[in-house]
């Protein structure tokens, strides 16, 4: 971490990711238990969390194995569940520096809550905040999996604690804060409509992937004009900032 601002954003990510790290711990315990019941060894269960770090897809794969499905079906279903990382990664991509390999590596830090936390609301993302939030969640995801795989059912049904309401409530809170323009609100309604219409007919995960088509509203002329104006305002702010600093430097030199 090179700069002070990067360190600050990382720490902020750790803090803001903490509630999801706690919820993730409880969910990971139940993952550990269910994976053992589905026939995975303790080591395999722990390794799966270490190398995958994708809650919904891990539960999906285990549900298929536990129900007698094939390994191929489990991999396919978990990939569909994770297909939302395609549009999420596309949104994040322009905010990541470095060559393709470095960007691909940084993209591994994306999980739902971190991606949502790191979004600045203008289409750009704070990558160090993303890394911090994911680091906190990665740690507890591993600890919870180990506890569940070795220790069994310590905490009972996570649904009893209302944990399944935490993530959608958080995403709704962010959505209400971000979708301030009529256009963004309309896209949200459209995305929700697409997802709900597909839930009964498409495999889990696909409704979220296809809902990203709602963002094609951005192709309209009025949406592009709005983005161009926002970019111009941002450039103007940066120019003023640079001028301000130059003026301060001149004043210091004069003294």
């Amino acid at each position: 971490m090179r700069t002070e601002s990067a360190r600050r954003a990382f720490r902020q990510g750790l803090r803001e990711g903490a509630p999801f790290a706690i919820a993730g711990f409880v969910l990971a315990v139940s993952f550990g238990v269910i994976a053992r019941e589905a026939g995975l060894s303790a080591v395999a269960t722990i390794v799966m969390s270490l190398v995958m770090f994708a809650g919904a897809a891990q539960f999906t794969a285990i549900a298929i194995i536990g129900g007698g499905g094939t390994v191929g079906a489990a991999i396919g279903a978990s990939a569909l569940m994770n297909s939302r990382f395609l549009p999420m990664g596309a949104a994040l991509g322009p905010s990541l520096p470095g060559g393709p390999f470095k960007r691909a590596a940084q993209g591994q830090a994306v999980v739902d809550a971190s991606w949502a936390l790191a979004g600045r609301g203008d289409g750009t993302f704070d990558r160090w905040l993303l890394f911090g939030a994911s680091a906190a969640q990665y740690l507890t995801w591993q600890l919870g999996t180990i506890a569940g795989a070795l220790g069994g059912d310590l905490l009972g049904d996570p649904d009893k604690l209302g944990l399944d309401a935490i993530y959608p409530a958080f995403f709704l809170g962010l959505l209400l804060a971000e979708a301030r323009t009529l256009r963004a609100a309309g896209v949200a309604v459209l995305g929700a409509g697409i997802a709900l219409a597909l839930v009964p007919v498409a495999p889990p995960g696909v409704p979220i992937l296809v809902s990203s088509l709602a963002a094609l509203v951005g192709l309209t002329r009025s949406a592009q004009t709005a983005v161009a104006e926002a970019q111009a305002r941002e450039q103007e702010r940066e120019r003023e900032h640079v001028l301000e600093r130059e003026r301060e430097a001149r004043e210091r030199a004069a003294r």
Partner: protein, 100 residues
């Protein structure tokens, strides 16, 4: 069941899906129409995450205790602007309704 194949396959698929976006769309100036679509991906995906998690149970559309919790949390976020309060209200109400 081949556990190594299962875990390896799932891990590779996850890594590839997370890598495609950053590889395809980073490291260069993007045309305005691409940026304009990217800006709107967040509301579309957030809304889809909210509704599939609050109103769907597997392949069935369903209303449960978590639906009520999420709606109440949304009202709190709307009135107070606090996302922390929104999440706490949602979890507590959901857990309370399930305990009844």
């Amino acid at each position: 069941m081949n556990a190594a194949l299962l875990i390896g396959g799932c891990a590779v698929a996850t890594a590839v899906l997370k890598a495609i976006g950053p590889i395809a769309l980073g490291g260069r100036e993007l045309p305005l129409w691409v940026t304009s679509v990217i800006v709107l991906l967040a509301p579309a995906l957030l809304a889809a995450l909210v509704f599939t998690q609050a109103f769907a149970e597997g392949k069935d559309l369903a209303v449960g205790a978590e639906t009520a919790g999420v709606v109440a949390g949304g009202l709190v976020a709307w009135r107070s602007g606090s996302i922390v309060a929104c999440v706490i209200v949602a979890a507590v109400l959901t857990a309370t309704l399930r305990a009844l």
